[in-house]
């Protein structure tokens, strides 16, 4: 049981779409066991981010709730959770949410990936895996219905994520989606702070160093056989109807149509036009290459393709590519997301698209966060150009756009060799170590989470959201179908107050989406449709209002854990470079720094949090039905 509830004589029926059990793993004791969770908890916490948030809050406290365990402590929890929609015919419901105390911020994290994790896990009979303890030797977790084993992973150590999945496929005699494998590469093994968790050839839960947490626990991977169990839906026809309506929205709605056709590829040109494409470590906002060469159809047509979709998904989004020519001819790689074209491309000044595509998969294989890679590698390149990091210090000369040099740097970081050991701590810690002009050139948030792959000096809502986040990455974004929430359809992106109102206004939707087990992209439909799908699957009656209240409850729980980790409002600001003013390009002269204090104050007022302590106010908590949290945070005063 997650929460203590009054005993009743009748056991309420299991809601539709749930497997009904959590898989608990204690690595210190080498034990695995299934634990039922109650229908009331399912209704209150749903799954994914919501389930992870309450487990983290309940199980990682120290000093009677005044402190929290650190990311590398055995008592840190690593929650790998699905949601109620996972494994159902709703598009994009492979559903993995990772919740833990992450290595970058040493605070709470919620980061997502898809593939077939959630599908395979639920058909084995589990809604989530909750991992505690630390193993003495490297192990991997094998799940096949009731067969739960911590197996020796010695032979997998040193393998990159794709090689590891190949090896496990060979070992089990399974292939394709018969076996879903999520795990870490060499970066996670060596506790690189921005190491990620990767699975199913191209899906990455990348934020806040979750791979380092897995590495610290000496858990190389989780391998889940496609289970043989059944899932019931409360209303099968309704589930399919809601799924079809969501698909219709995705195919036809202007806010989703380009995603349906090309995934996130159009972002390169669209964000470039806004000045929000991060170019050469934010040193300019003017593209160094003709953007028309980077239009989505051209990016896609430049490679041979194989569709590689997640569970039940009809988007033309995830693809495998075969590189046709150049140095990497014949390589099979995962088509980069926009974030890949930016982090392995524009942020480091690369022009060679085949090289960018290859490097992007190298990052997935080593298994680090592609966003942080862009900020780290771009920073090293700039520092070398300006003589702030010498050739002797680094061991070689790394110039803008050098793909092979970038891979060489990756392998140094990956294995913490030479200067790679400093860089493996992430750009914030590396820059703070060097200090001076090098420190001022680095892109990071003061609480430590990596910004996503844009130039946020032209996308203020993401800078505000990332800096105030309690999930180790963008927390509330991105705004979608905002009029459904009573917010204006359009705002002036450089009017601080309008931006703050928008970021506060959408707060909750992301947490809800990340709890029901749907992809950020296929969730790009009206909230009303998501509620319909959830209700048909489970038999509940969630409304749009209730889904937003749910999300804000989860946000408050994450915030309480964050504060317990010692990450207060004083750290909610950008680094010097991240918060600077663009000197050229479409956003030239737009100074977020001048409006920052006003934006933060307004955001606090609108979300109902106390500006001084950062806590959700007693009134906010009461309105959300979180009286128990009010008592924890405010004591008797509440």
């Amino acid at each position: 049981m997650l929460t203590k509830r009054a005993m009743t004589t009748a056991t309420p029926p299991l809601p539709g779409a749930y497997a009904g059990k959590l898989l608990r793993v204690d690595l210190s004791k080498k034990k695995c066991w299934a634990e039922p969770w109650s229908p009331a908890d399912m209704r209150d916490y749903l799954g994914g981010a919501g389930l992870g948030a309450i487990i983290l809050y309940r199980e990682t406290a120290t000093r009677g709730g005044k402190g929290n365990v650190a990311w590398d402590h055995p008592d840190n929890r690593l929650v790998l959770a699905t949601g109620p929609l996972a494994g159902l015919p709703v598009w994009g419901t492979g559903a993995l949410t990772v919740v833990t105390i992450g290595a970058m911020t040493n605070g709470p994290t919620s980061t997502q990936a898809n593939g077939f994790f959630g599908t395979n896990l639920k058909y084995c009979g589990y809604d989530a895996i909750v991992i505690q303890g630390q193993s003495k030797d490297w192990v991997y977790l094998y799940i096949n219905d009731d067969v739960l084993e911590l197996r020796d992973a010695k032979s997998l150590i040193g393998l990159d994520t794709w090689e590891m999945q190949d090896a496990l496929n060979r070992e089990t005699g399974l292939s394709g989606h018969q076996l879903s494998v999520y795990g870490i590469g060499p970066a996670g093994e060596n506790l690189v702070r921005f190491a990620a968790i990767h699975g199913d050839y191209g899906h990455v839960a990348s934020k806040n160093g979750v791979g380092a947490v897995m590495g610290k626990k000496k858990l190389k991977a989780v391998a889940i056989v496609k289970g043989t169990r059944a899932l019931k839906a409360a209303d099968y026809r309704g589930t399919v109807q809601a799924a079809d309506d969501i698909a219709h929205d995705l195919r036809t709605d202007p806010s989703a149509k380009s995603l349906y056709e090309y995934g996130t590829l159009p972002g390169v040109v669209n964000l470039g036009k806004l000045g929000a494409l991060p170019i050469k470590n934010y040193t300019t906002n003017v593209p160094y290459d003709d953007l028309t060469n980077w239009e989505a159809p051209k990016l896609r047509e430049g490679f041979d393709h194989r569709g590689h979709q997640c569970n039940a998904c009809g988007m033309h989004h995830c693809h495998m590519q075969v590189i046709r020519g150049g140095d990497f001819k014949g390589s099979i790689v995962d088509e980069p997301e926009y974030e890949g074209w930016s982090g392995a491309g524009w942020a480091i000044g690369a022009r060679d698209k085949e090289g960018v595509s290859w490097l992007n998969t190298q990052l997935d294989r080593a298994c680090v966060d592609v966003n942080e890679w862009g900020w780290l590698c771009g920073w090293v390149m700039e520092c070398q150009e300006r003589g702030l990091i010498t050739e002797k210090q680094l061991g070689f000369r790394l110039q803008w756009g050098d793909i092979k040099g970038s891979d060489r740097l990756l392998q140094m970081v990956n294995r913490r060799q030479g200067f790679g050991d400093v860089l493996a701590e992430g750009v914030k810690r590396a820059a703070e170590k060097l200090g001076g002009a090098a420190k001022d050139a680095a892109i990071y948030t003061m609480q430590g989470c990596s910004p996503r792959g844009h130039d946020h000096r032209a996308r203020w809502e993401e800078m505000l959201d990332t800096c105030t986040s309690s999930t180790g990455t963008l927390e509330s974004g991105v705004p979608v179908h905002v009029t459904e929430l009573g917010l204006p359809a359009r705002i002036n992106p450089f009017a601080g107050e309008e931006v703050a109102m928008m970021v506060a206004g959408i707060r909750g939707r992301r947490h809800f989406e990340d709890s029901i087990g749907i992809c950020i992209f296929t969730g790009r439909t009206r909230l009303e449709n998501l509620c319909r799908a959830l209700n048909a699957a489970t038999g509940w009656n969630y409304t749009v209002d209730e889904s937003m209240r749910f999300g804000r409850r989860v946000a408050a729980i994450f915030r309480a854990t964050r504060l317990r980790c010692g990450i207060g409002p004083d750290l909610e600001k950008p680094s010097v470079r991240y918060g600077s003013t663009p000197h050229d390009g479409p956003a030239k002269g737009q100074a977020i720094g001048a409006q920052w204090a006003k934006m933060i104050d307004l955001w606090y007022e609108k979300v109902g949090y106390d500006r001084k302590t950062g806590k959700p106010s007693p009134k906010t908590l009461k309105d959300l039905g979180l009286d128990w949290l009010a008592k924890d945070l405010w004591g008797r005063k509440a």
Binding site: P89, G176, T228, G314, G330
Partner: protein, 155 residues
């Protein structure tokens, strides 16, 4: 008659057909009991669904010693549960590997075209599975040969 036509090049491996099929066949989502299954090629980079092609020869019918496989109103070979004794001869006789055995019910089961309105064809988001009045064919043969060869000789 209409049959399920498979265009393997269009399949992205999302497995939505398995979910829809299992619901129609068992009343629950349970891909393990789907009678259409998606097979990976080249390890993991290509996928294609396969199910009963409703072949003219009807090897399963010929092999069945108790006459439990008949032709339904949609023209599909179908297992009559009351007659099936679970001997599995049909699963051996079928050259396509699309006769299945359910250890829970101890009966054989197969695609019956959902009685003429196949759920998999409705569910497929890329039209890799369509329900059409065409001559039956071994839909995967050329695709499988090509993808296997590519794996063997490199791209």
């Amino acid at each position: 008659m209409s049959i399920l036509k498979i265009t393997p090049e269009r399949c992205t491996g999302c497995l939505r057909c398995e979910l829809a099929c299992s619901y129609m066949q068992t009343g629950e989502y349970q891909p393990a009991k789907s009678v259409i299954r998606v097979s990976p090629f080249e390890g993991h980079t290509s996928y294609a669904p396969y199910t009963c092609v409703q072949c003219a020869e009807g090897w399963c019918m010929t092999a069945c010693p108790v006459g439990a496989i008949t032709i339904n109103a949609a023209g599909a070979k179908d297992v009559v549960d009351d007659r099936c004794v679970g001997c599995k001869l049909c699963t051996i006789a079928c050259p396509y590997g699309t006769m299945f055995y359910d250890p829970d019910t101890r009966k054989a089961f197969k695609c019956n075209l959902c009685g003429g309105d196949p759920a998999c064809a409705h569910a497929c988001p890329t039209a890799a599975i369509t329900y059409e009045d065409v001559a039956t064919s071994d839909w995967l043969a050329d695709f499988a040969a090509e993808r296997t060869q590519r794996l063997l000789v490199g791209v």
